[in-house]
Amino acid sequence: MVDAPLLIVGASMAGLRTAEGARRAGYAGPITFLGAEAHAPYNRPPLSKELLQTEGQGHADVAFPIRSALEEGVEWVLGRAATALDIERRVVVDETGQEHPYRALVIATGLRPKPLPIETHGLGGIHVLRTLDDAVALRAALRPGANVVILGSGFVGCEIAATAAKNGAHVSVVSQSRVPLQRALGAQLGGELRRRHEEHGVRFFCGESLFGLVGDPDVERVILTSGVMLECDVLVVAIGSDPNTEWLQGSGLDVSDGVLVDAGLRAIGVDGTVHPEIVAVGDVARYANPLFDDVPRRVEHWNLPTETGKRAGAILAAHLAGQDCAPLVADGWAPLPSFWSDQYDAHVLAFGMTYLADRSELVAGSLDDECVLEYYRGDELVGVCGIGMRSVVQSYRTRFAAAARA
């Protein structure tokens, strides 16, 4: 099957960067993208910000440019989800039953939002936000004056809250944690971001969950576990994500929480076998990062699909060229996670794995203005986060890079 393509399942940022990485490393053969969404790869962060508040914005505003290396020899099969993988025959089956043979396989199927944990009885007005189509549907619902209830206070929930509040909606955030972004940024910074949201009229119901929904045919009110009832025209469920790995069940790969991969992003079977012709990249991949420890984790930060994709593409290209991949895999790769968030005029930028920390420490500025916090797990610096103070936050990149080399 020399002519079978490099098959990329998931027409995503991670998939795109993997294809580019393979081309850059010399792979000149055919590439096929198989994507469940109808759209070519696009950037997701604006979906909770600019695109959510700007009528008329669509795919063209968020699409990644297709570079010249991918203008030829690339086939796009979009709007079709993969349903099965047969490793022995090297084929992926899609939802129409069509088989897609591959020479090498890239798993880039990403995540989907966790569903509402209570019965919805088919009520309308309930939204999630992951895809471009989700964002367009939510934008139409976020009218000025609408009563918007957001379940969940992570980055997606908080950014939707900020966008909706700026648009003149009445916004309530319902969250099981004590302060928003508690898991990612800790109580200190989370508490400050709550204060900033409240300044813009957002109400918080913390330590709460949903008990029930009222309405017909659309949701009209939600009932919280404490008994509080909130008017609700739009309910947004933003309580985290699950990896899209159902199609890999029974394939022999370890998909206990995302796709387990080695330091070369190569998929590991339930029996421990490494599959050199299969990589997983982006949000769906679970791997250890020696910058922190040897625990394989899925990490949902925006820069990692690019980091994992470039690396996986290069290693796959070497494998397909018959080269020894061992030195590439064992080069001590330790990507520094980075993430950012825009909420009102607060531009939050972070490096590392702040949510591994057990404490945070304010090291510059003041919380109610611009500030920088360090995050520690025991005595070990595992992350840094700032509001503004860009050059101070940036300086930590060098520190982490030095730690990676040590």
């Binding site: 440019p65 570079r67 950012w340 940036q394």
Partner: protein, 64 residues
């Protein structure tokens, strides 16, 4: 040569590009982005890396 354009309406001065292509992108003393409008072809990989890591996807490259 490669022509570099940054959409300054989108740019939030996150400075991620600076680490990928410091010869072209810099944050000035006010933490604002400054960049060169042109770079030699040999820098393409670094410039693409800089465009890739921009959180706002505000960096555009074209061949001259």
């Amino acid at each position: 040569m490669i022509k570099i354009t940054v959409d300054m309406d989108k740019c939030q001065h996150y400075g991620q590009c600076v680490f990928e292509a410091p010869e072209v992108f810099q944050l000035n003393a006010d933490d604002k982005l400054e960049y060169k409008a042109e770079a030699p072809d040999e820098m393409l990989a670094d410039l693409e890396a800089a465009a890739d890591v921009c959180p706002m996807q505000a960096i555009f490259l074209s061949k001259e």
